[in-house]
Amino acid sequence: MPLSANVWLAPALLVVLFLSGCLAPELAFTLPEDYAEGAGGEYPGLVGIPNLDDDNENGEVDWEEAALVEGENDLSSFTLSAALFRGLQRQQRIRMVLEGATSAIRVWRDGEVVLGKVEGGYIEAHSVAPFEDGEEEVLYRVEFEDFLVAGRLRLELHDGDEVLASDEIYVTAAPLILNHHLQQTEEVWLLELDAGPSYNNRQMVSAYEEVLGEVFTAIDGPSYDGDVWVQDEFQFGWTMAPGLRNDIVVDSIRDRSLDEYPEQELLRPDWVVRTWGDSSQVNSLDSFGNLEVSPPVTVDGVNYPFGRIYYGGAEFLHPDRQLTDFLASQRVQRPFEIDTTWLCVSHIDEVSSFVPDPSAPRGFRFVWADTRSAWSLLEGMEPSAPLGRYSLPFPGGHDLPDVAAFLNSQQLRFLNEEIQEDYLDPLLEQMKTELGLSDDEVVLMPALFEEPVGCLGLVAALIPGMANLFVSNRGDQTDVFLADPFMRESLSSAAGQDQDPFIADVTDRMPPHINFHFVDDWSMYHMALGEVHCGSNSTRTPAAHWWETAVHLLPEAP
């Protein structure tokens, strides 16, 4: 070959080599705009929500349907670009592979499952054919069967058996996250019942209506046999991913008259009602007044941006383990149990709560029942001061005519001393440890307990339990509804609240920005061993993105 030919051949070869590099297939998943550059490659990658709702309202969970249903809006998506095929050589193939929970994920293209669960098994690999009709990109949709299902999707450039290049993303379903008291309130429920002058919640319902307006819904009492314990039958939570949200109603195995309410009144597209546990083994601790969530906390250096779940129980008596194990498996709100078996109803909401407080170190105060504060207040009162509500005989009241009846009962002092020493003090320490609370984050709520007949020595609130409160946050406005303690002669919540030393003291202890509503829950709730929170429930707005703030809490990447 003459030298001149070589002179021309060398640059031509360089050009060919350069062009072939430029035209090599571009292996890349394109995630929606909500994701940062490269987010797919880092766990949890492309996130979604489990497809547990029923968008076409045909009575079947959408995941269980053979085809994508009309109105389906719970799938995540990514696209592949035509650049995937640029420069693809005849013998080369593009494959997409799914690994991880392959039978709990589906990847859809043009209404067909191309990867993951199909009837009778699952597809692990999909050959990506060149796009037709000059399409620049093709949309894929990812569907998840359950919470926290995770897998990996990989694009591979094959040349025969050899993988020349690949790109991988994680795909992860959202965990179930339960609401805490600092989130914005969306809708509030209370059951309305009026069975005459001695048994109704007229004043309480009016107060909710007046303060909350259209976000408040009164459930028709007679339709649900007067089951006023709206907190106990269901718990609200949610799953979220960019652009996706399902509200989750965790339906308790308690199964009393309100059991059908979620299915009858709440279930609609993007809402899911699920139950964990065996209702034949139900006990009082399975009610959701016994399932609470703290605000965001950092404990021993671990940040819980959605707070921690806590519930009452003990080794010998506890909520159904199917539920508590499931909640623990969600990881993000790592649950803990504290002993409430000394309470007749055994619900954690009888003695604890959280309220927002912008001036507090972490934006909240923890409210905890305290008998010493109650005695101290009683000792400051005139012993002969009549106590209208307390003076009524059972079932109307506690047969305690005046302040002296409290002060002179050595037995009542003994009982409350023992409760304080054996339970309230040590359990407060446990709450402080589990939630990393400092002393100044704790508000002690005056409380006294009694041993109701038939409770076998277990106790319930004697003074209406004011720690058992309901918080509504709308914009900057915080409203707290709590029991009127009736530490005065008046039989009505409409009279004498400004003279009630307990109301004055509680208002003083609590954050000043809160609007307090001391409502009359006496006959329908208090005398039936519950208070305001027990009768209320609400949905709340998710306050953070778990895929950004709670990644450190998730299970190992698949």
Partner: protein, 302 residues
């Protein structure tokens, strides 16, 4: 046999009054007592008594002082039914609501009137309802107070359901000591440990609990830990110094609840003496955190 006899009496007294121009009081009381064994024909027999000319109101009111308390109540019931049938209908139609634990609970103005008591008792005694509802009726009855507490011992003696007996015993957390004597005497021998425990608990709630000191000391040896614990607590609440040794012997009880209440009772009786108890060091290491905390507190003089 007894039912047949009573039915015969019923026929003689009520269905064929003409044959008896002036029946003696005893046949009337027997007819009333027949309601106790009437079973499913209770309402039929009761209504026959209501609508018949005899017994007259005078005859019935004469039975208010009858030696048999059941006759007293039944006489009062028949009079009440004749005068206030609407009230009885309301009481018998009342549906309980469920408290937060799920126990039935009766509410409403019908139950606040003292005159309703006789009808509540009737429903409790003859309504044939489940134990939980009967227990709630008993609780309502006690809540209404009055001289009905004297009937507690009698109702207790006849009551088959432990759940109801427990409630009846709790009615003696207050009330006069003599009535309480009879109630506690029965309750502390009750076959159901929950009833015996309630007796011990109720004694503690009374201002005169020391009156039953020796009974509580006996209960410290009960086979049920629940009973032993409540006996210990009540001995502490009544600060019964006589109980020192028996309480001391319970500090190594197998049940933590008993050790806790025994130790606290000793401290309530004499805290300085309690601080010198030899076992205290061991109790500071007790596997139950409440016991170890209490023992430590006593050692440290808190």
């Amino acid at each position: 046999m007894r039912r047949a006899l009573v039915t015969a009496l019923f026929v003689v007294l009520v269905a064929a009054p003409a044959l008896h121009a002036a029946p003696p009081v005893e046949p009337i009381s027997d007819a009333l007592l027949g309601l106790y064994v009437a079973g499913s024909s209770y309402v039929l027999q009761r209504d026959a008594l209501l609508t018949a000319d005899r017994p007259t109101e005078a005859e019935l009111t004469a039975l208010y002082e009858h030696q048999d308390w059941r006759v007293q109540l039944l006489a009062e019931l028949i009079v009440g039914l004749r005068h206030r049938p609407e009230q009885q209908a309301r009481v018998s139609a009342l549906e309980p609501v469920l408290d937060r634990v799920g126990r039935p609970r009766f509410v409403g103005p019908e139950l606040m009137a003292p005159e309703a008591r006789i009808f509540i008792w009737e429903r409790l005694q003859f309504g044939g309802e489940p134990p939980a509802i009967r227990a709630s009726l008993a609780r309502t009855l006690i809540g209404l107070g009055g001289d009905w507490e004297q009937l507690l011992a009698r109702l207790l003696a006849d009551e088959h359901e432990a759940q109801v007996r427990l409630v009846l015993v709790s009615g003696m957390r207050g009330g006069d000591a003599q009535t309480a004597d009879s109630v506690f005497a029965l309750a502390l021998l009750d076959p159901d440990p929950a009833v015996r425990a309630e007796a011990c608990r109720s004694i503690g709630w009374r201002g005169d609990g020391e009156r039953w000191g020796s009974a509580l000391m006996t209960a410290l040896s009960d086979q049920s830990p629940e009973v032993r614990a409540m006996a210990a607590r009540s001995l502490g609440w009544t600060a019964d110094a006589e109980a020192w040794r028996p309480l001391l012997s319970r500090l190594d009880d197998s049940a933590a609840e008993v050790r806790l209440h025994a130790l606290r009772a000793l401290a309530r009786i004499d805290v300085e003496r309690a601080a010198a108890i030899g076992m205290l060091r061991r109790l500071q290491q007790d596997p139950d955190a409440r016991v170890s905390r209490l023992a430590t507190g006593i050692v440290q003089g808190h």
